[in-house]
């Protein structure tokens, strides 16, 4: 049965959980499909994750390969295809714990960067898993800054081949997924040299393992890079190439080509190269970041109504820890953020779809905006959600520290997202560069993209709020966010211009302002998130119950931001000290209001117990029973350890006294 402490939480919901779930999924039909996919996968024992916390790196890897192979069979059985509506839910059902994830990246890079001929040759092989692909860009000594890569590809006219080489230790490819043990082929990014001249970084398809016995090809050294904080199931690898020759046709040549005589030809816009990166960044946000935060909130909030500790009132039962204001203040803002970022993800998806349509019409204008938004939000959302998951973890006290809570593995996985697909600080700086351009254009009266017209709006100068209830008005708080973002962008522009006027070189001036530039980019993203949340709530007028609770969450998200960044809002007196006290009071009042719906709000994320894989977060709230039973299955209890016979026994039986 359900733990009564959890059951009682569900009786007081102010809205229909099922309706909220359907709305989050984008319609009841999507919910139905998702549940069917999850059910089909989770009822199959091969996909079980029950033992994953007990497994070694080798066992995890083997299980992931096994699942990946089995998945092909399953998809065939179920009639799922890569373009079908079910596909996106498969990853969710597996929680990403599966091998060959790079196969998609391998294929996408060929379809985007390869010619028709190359696509026709390679894509079918990869689709049928005749070859297993990887994507080798990052090197031991080089990451986000692509121009710095050291691997070389020298064109040899006499044999019509490229000779790929890893000239130094730091040039070794390092980190690519599926490369350590699985991949047979990989796309290698290398500096192209023709007749001694360097033409910059280009992609080459390189075979690294034999298709017969999987042994390494001549000149190739490859292996696993060793244990990481997470991703035990993935064989992130290293790759060293010593004079490895590939035919001229293996350079992906949609945009540039080396002709047989060594002539280098380019065609089309190079900017288009940004598009795959933009798409990947946006897909990272939803699968790798927002869903883990939703899971963490589900686990932490359910556990917080089951866990009782201390007494709030003398003589009463110990209180649920979620009834403590401090616990609410830890968890509920993270819940609001999970919703806020779910909506931002929808916003970015629309922006991307719109941009994509333009690009297909050969209009490349939206590219810089798309690039700036995907960079900034990737950085902001990953950073915010990573610390949010950690807050959830720590809010579960000692039991959160057990792997069986599910929280440590969610955390170690999500925090990798702050680094891959572009290091966050660098991404913020890219967004800042775009904002500064737009700000200067706006000041000069030139047109700017619609998403940033706020930079040019008229500013009232002072916040008009008169009492704490005014801070529950979206107009009041969005305007405060807008003002702060514009002020921060404006002041860093002024600072940069000052420095340049005083004779400082442009790049030095930039480095001296980077800390402020990052702040400005964050303020921009935060503002857009708040506005987008408020607009989403407005559109909900046909669902009054859901609209009401979403409005509370929107207010909480906005006021939490003001409360945590008070200095930025107080700085020029836009919000006065007295108004800040009002905002804080409203913020704290909201905690008690949302508290009542906390469990229904996480139930609406609709994760199965198998997806959560957590003793603390299960939907029946039988936390302690589950923890006890699961722990007994640990190999430390079921397998005999040699420690007693070998070390403890001599110790206890006092061979010591002989000393």
């Amino acid at each position: 049965g359900v733990n009564p402490d959890l059951a009682s939480e569900r009786q007081t919901a102010s809205f229909s959980v099922e309706k909220l779930t359907a709305w989050l999924d984008g319609g009841a039909e999507h919910t139905r499909i998702r549940r069917a996919v999850v059910e089909a996968i989770q009822s199959d024992p091969i996909f079980s994750r029950e033992n994953q916390y007990f497994q070694s790196q080798n066992e995890r890897y083997e299980a992931a390969v096994r699942k990946a192979v089995h998945l092909q069979k399953k998809m065939h059985e179920m009639g799922w295809t890569e373009n079908g509506p079910e596909y996106k839910y498969i990853y969710r059902a597996l929680s990403g714990d599966v091998a060959f994830l790079l196969q998609r990246v391998f294929k996408r890079s060929i379809s985007v960067l390869g010619s028709e001929k190359q696509i026709a040759r390679w894509i079918p092989l990869a689709t049928q898993y005749r070859i297993i692909g990887s994507y080798a860009q990052t090197e031991l000594g080089h990451g986000t800054y692509l121009q710095g890569l050291e691997t070389t590809a020298v064109f040899d006219v006499s044999t019509q081949e490229f000779i790929l080489n890893t000239p130094t230790v730091s040039a070794m490819k390092w980190w690519p997924g599926d490369m350590g043990r699985s991949a047979t082929h990989t796309v290698v990014f290398a500096q192209l040299y023709i007749r001694g001249k360097c033409y910059g970084v280009h992609p080459f398809i390189v075979q690294i393992r034999s298709l017969q016995d999987h042994s390494l090809c001549p000149g190739v050294t490859a292996g696993d890079i060793g244990p990481k904080m997470s991703f035990e199931h993935a064989d992130n690898g290293y790759l060293r190439l010593q004079k490895v020759r590939v035919p001229r046709e293996n350079m992906l040549n949609k945009f540039c080509e080396v002709q047989p005589d060594g002539t280098y030809v380019t065609r089309g816009s190079e900017k288009i190269n940004y598009l795959p990166m933009t798409t990947v960044r946006i897909s990272v946000i939803s699968d790798e970041v927002i869903i883990p935060l939703m899971k963490a909130c589900t686990i932490a909030i359910r556990y917080s109504v089951v866990r009782r500790q201390s007494k709030l009132k003398p003589g009463e039962q110990e209180a649920k820890i979620l009834d403590y204001q401090t616990q609410q203040e830890k968890l509920l803002p993270q819940l609001a953020a999970a919703y806020a970022f779910h909506f931002i993800n929808n916003y970015l998806q629309e922006l991307l779809d719109r941009g994509y349509r333009e690009i297909q019409r050969k209009n490349f204008e939206p590219l810089p905006e798309l690039h700036a938004f995907s960079s900034g939000f990737k950085a902001m959302v990953t950073q915010y959600c990573t610390s949010a998951v950690e807050i959830c973890l720590r809010a579960c006290g000692g039991h959160g520290y057990s792997l069986l809570s599910g929280l440590p593995s969610l955390y170690t996985k999500i925090l990798a997202s702050c680094i891959y697909e572009g290091e966050n600080t660098i991404l913020f700086l890219q967004t800042a560069r775009f904002l500064i351009k737009c700000f200067m254009a706006a000041s000069a009266g030139q047109p700017i993209p619609p998403s940033v017209t706020y930079l040019a709006a008229v500013d009232p100068g002072k916040c008009p709020a008169k009492n704490k209830l005014d801070f529950l008005s979206p107009d009041i708080y969005t305007e405060a966010y807008r003002h702060t973002a514009v002020r921060l962008i404006g002041s860093v522009v002024a600072k940069l211009q000052d420095l340049i006027h005083s004779g400082v070189k442009k790049y030095d001036a930039w480095n001296q302002c980077t800390v402020q530039l990052v702040q400005a980019a964050k303020a921009h993203c935060h503002y857009i998130s708040v506005v987008n949340f408020a607009e989403t709530v407005e559109k909900l007028e046909t669902k009054p119950d859901i609209q009401k609770i979403m409005k509370h969450l929107c207010d909480l998200f906005a006021l939490h931001g003001i409360f945590s960044n008070a200095g930025a809002f107080l700085h020029d007196g836009y919000i006065s000290g007295a108004q800040m006290d009002m905002a804080t009071a409203s913020y704290l009042d909201l905690l008690a209001v949302i508290r009542k719906d906390a469990v229904p709000l996480v139930d609406a994320f609709d994760f199965t117990d198998k997806t959560l894989n957590s003793a603390l977060g299960s939907s029946d709230g039988q936390v302690y029973q589950r923890l006890y039973e699961w722990a007994q299955k640990s190999p430390t209890n079921t397998q005999i350890s040699p420690s007693y016979e070998k070390y403890l026994k001599p110790l206890l039986h006092n061979t010591l006294s002989k000393l």
């Binding site: 916390y53 790196q57 080798n58 083997e62 192979v69 092909q72 990052t138 031991l140 000594g141 990451g143 986000t144 800054y145 710095g148 043990r181 016995d213 292996g223 696993d224 060793g226 244990p227 904080m229 064989d235 290293y238 201390s310 709030l312 009132k313 003398p314 110990e318 204001q325 203040e329 950690e390 720590r394 000692g398 039991h399 520290y401 057990s402 069986l404 440590p408 680094i419 480095n511 980077t514 402020q516 008070a566 200095g567 107080l570 704290l588 302690y624 006890y628 722990a631 299955k633 190999p635 430390t636 209890n637 350890s641 040699p642 420690s643 070998k646 403890l648 110790l651 039986h653 010591l656």
Partner: protein, 623 residues
């Protein structure tokens, strides 16, 4: 140190490549060896044992921690002389290995909620121990799962039909000789955790398990043969141990953060990336302002926490003398202060270690960086020995009490004496420290932090009063103010740390060292202001213009500290083996050694992984 590092018996494979069982086995092997060597070398001083142990286990937990750190000391402080005769020497000789079983599955920081019972049976002169519910199962004690054969169990004492509260009992749990659990005892390992792989944290369930009356630790409270309960004299005494353990955590915060800083700063000097100036070679990433902004404030924080740890230890030593003479007057303040500082430093260090890891980019995420290990080992300190939020609220209780005393006209002393100035400031509100704050010298900044603490304590106390006027229940009012109360405690702790750091400067005789530490102190204080500008602006402690200057000065300090950054990290003097990091190596030969390290990964043991034959090949054949 050299004694351990050069001893071949303590060498082993890199722990990152071992499974949990193997790590436990290695730890047990080393612990057993360690005990023998300690006896062999005749090391007995607690401080020396501590250092020896920390080098043997390289700062990691080990299965005998609880035996050495809790079981033996508890016997010493709470056992009667007769009990010491029975248990202490066998325990000292490790015939008895013990642990300390307090926390239960459903109960942690709130001790009164523990459910385990010990019911006295005068007929047989025994206590009957029981775990009446699932939530009452002892859960987490280190060394309990596989190692120990005894445990000190905390249980609610029932005698003559009455509950007398929590008491400690010595409970044998495994058969001497076979190491099998005794009848009535269910014991095991609680499964894998975030870190602490080498520790067998355990569970313990007792069903009508009987122990003789003499197994209750009876130096203070006693149960007589007929069941009569004799009360202990004072309960304040237990404060002493808590203060001591929390002071160790403050020291641990400093050390763990220093280790992470050392790794991140050295690596940032080795790593080159991107370009600062067109056409020039890629610069060291430590030359980027954003990188300095991530790391240098943490370096300053690590230094600050070192001084705080030393201060608490000294104060504790000083007043333990008074305590032995029966003077407990300073204990409440120290107790309240260490609770808050334990929470403040462990929270900050926890976040700081993560920032260091993140500042190392992708390679920070690899176990070879050593930072993941530092993090997972350190992070539980936010929970154990008192959950941090609860600790902050304890400090707040003391602050509110002091504020109330001041309001009623009494003077308060010690670190909270700034509250004495509050009534005066209310008369002339314009004069609040403000306007005149000197932000370019440590003492000026101490004043600023003091003013902020005073304001936030006052605000929390007033909000609490307002809530009390609205509703009947004191507890409700307290709960509805608790977010404010935590903020007040944080501000108080922050002030104490800045104050201690600034005070330390005058003790440094070497001018060059003083100069660089002054820069660190300024950076620590100014960075803290820039992260909490709201508090300083709202209270009128700083003007808008000053808060802009604070920012500017932080940036200037980053540039000023840049040339000394590696030296400041080197000064922590961590040996490479202790650091356990490829990125943080003293010689900076990072990339070659990463490659060497990776080759040892378990996945690389065979050239072709067995998964190929088992899964990949059949699939390729079928498709």
């Amino acid at each position: 140190e050299a004694l351990v590092l050069n001893d071949p018996d303590f060498q082993h494979e890199d722990l990152n490549f071992l499974s949990r069982s193997q790590r436990y086995e290695q730890a047990i092997r080393k612990s057993a060896l360690m005990v023998m060597k300690l006896r062999q070398y005749g090391i007995a001083d607690p401080e020396e044992i501590y250092w020896f142990k920390s080098f043997v286990h390289r700062g990691r937990p080990e299965p005998l921690d609880l035996h050495l750190g809790m079981f033996l000391p508890t016997l010493l402080t709470q056992a009667t002389p007769e009990q010491q005769d029975r248990f202490f020497m066998p325990a000292w000789n490790l015939e008895i290995i013990g642990t300390y079983a307090q926390t239960e599955m459903g109960h942690g920081t709130h001790l009164r909620g523990l459910e385990t019972t010990a019911t006295y049976d005068p007929a047989t002169q025994e206590f009957i121990l029981n775990s009446p519910t699932v939530t009452s199962i002892k859960w987490w004690p280190g060394g309990l799962g596989k190692t120990s054969n005894h445990a000190i169990v905390l249980a609610q004492l029932y005698t003559q039909g009455q509950c007398k509260g929590l008491h400690a009992f010595i409970v044998p749990i495994r058969q001497l000789g076979t190491h099998e659990p005794l009848p009535g005892i269910t014991v095991g390992d609680i499964g894998p955790k975030f870190g602490y792989d080498e520790m067998d944290n355990g569970y313990l369930k007792m069903d009508n398990f009987r122990i003789p009356r003499e197994n209750m630790l009876m130096k203070y409270a006693q149960v007589e043969p007929d069941g009569t309960y004799v009360k202990p004299l004072s309960d304040k005494l237990t404060y002493g141990t808590m203060v001591f353990i929390r002071s160790l955590i403050v020291g641990d915060s400093a050390r763990s953060l220093s280790r992470a800083c050392t790794i991140a700063i050295r690596y940032s000097a080795v790593r080159h990336q991107s370009e600062l100036k067109p056409g020039e070679p890629e610069p060291q990433i430590l030359d980027y302002q954003t990188q300095q902004y991530k790391l240098f404030p943490l370096l300053a924080t690590a230094y600050a926490f070192h001084f705080v740890g030393a201060y608490i230890k000294d104060t504790y030593r000083r007043i333990s003398g008074d305590i032995n003479e029966g003077d407990l007057s300073e204990l409440p303040e120290l107790h309240a202060l260490t609770a808050g500082l334990k929470a403040f430093t462990s929270w900050t260090a926890n976040a700081g270690i993560e920032e260091c890891r993140m500042a190392c980019g992708g390679h920070g995420y690899s176990r070879c960086s050593g930072i993941p290990d530092i993090y997972v080992t350190f992070t539980p300190s936010c929970t154990y020995e008192g959950e941090n939020t609860v600790m902050m609220l304890q400090t707040a209780r003391f602050l509110v009490k002091s504020y109330t005393q001041v309001s009623s006209g009494q003077e308060v002393t010690g670190m909270v004496s700034y509250l004495n100035d509050l009534p005066r400031q209310r008369i002339q509100p314009q004069h609040v420290a403000a306007r005149s704050v000197r932000i370019n010298e440590p003492l000026g900044l101490v004043e600023a932090y003091k003013a902020r603490a005073a304001r936030l304590v006052e605000a929390a106390a007033k909000n609490l009063q307002a809530e009390l006027n609205l509703r009947k229940s004191k507890e409700d009012a307290w709960n509805r103010t608790s977010v404010d109360l935590v903020r007040a405690s944080e501000a108080h702790c922050h002030y104490v740390i800045v104050k201690l750091f600034a005070a330390k400067l005058s003790e440094i005789s070497n001018a060059a060292v003083r100069a660089v530490l002054t820069e660190l102190c300024l950076l620590y204080a100014l960075y803290g202001i820039s992260k909490n500008t709201g508090d300083f602006l709202q209270a009128g402690i700083l003007t808008d213009a000053q808060s802009t200057q604070v920012y500017q000065q932080v940036k200037e300090l980053l540039a000023a500290l840049r040339p000394n950054a590696v030296a400041l990290a080197d000064a922590f003097d961590f040996h490479d083996v202790h650091l356990g990091s490829v990125l943080g190596r003293y010689d900076g030969n990072v990339y070659e050694n990463m490659f060497e390290w990776a080759k040892k990964s378990p996945l690389n043991q065979k050239e072709v992984h067995e998964s190929f034959h088992k899964h990949l090949k059949p699939m390729q054949a079928k498709l």
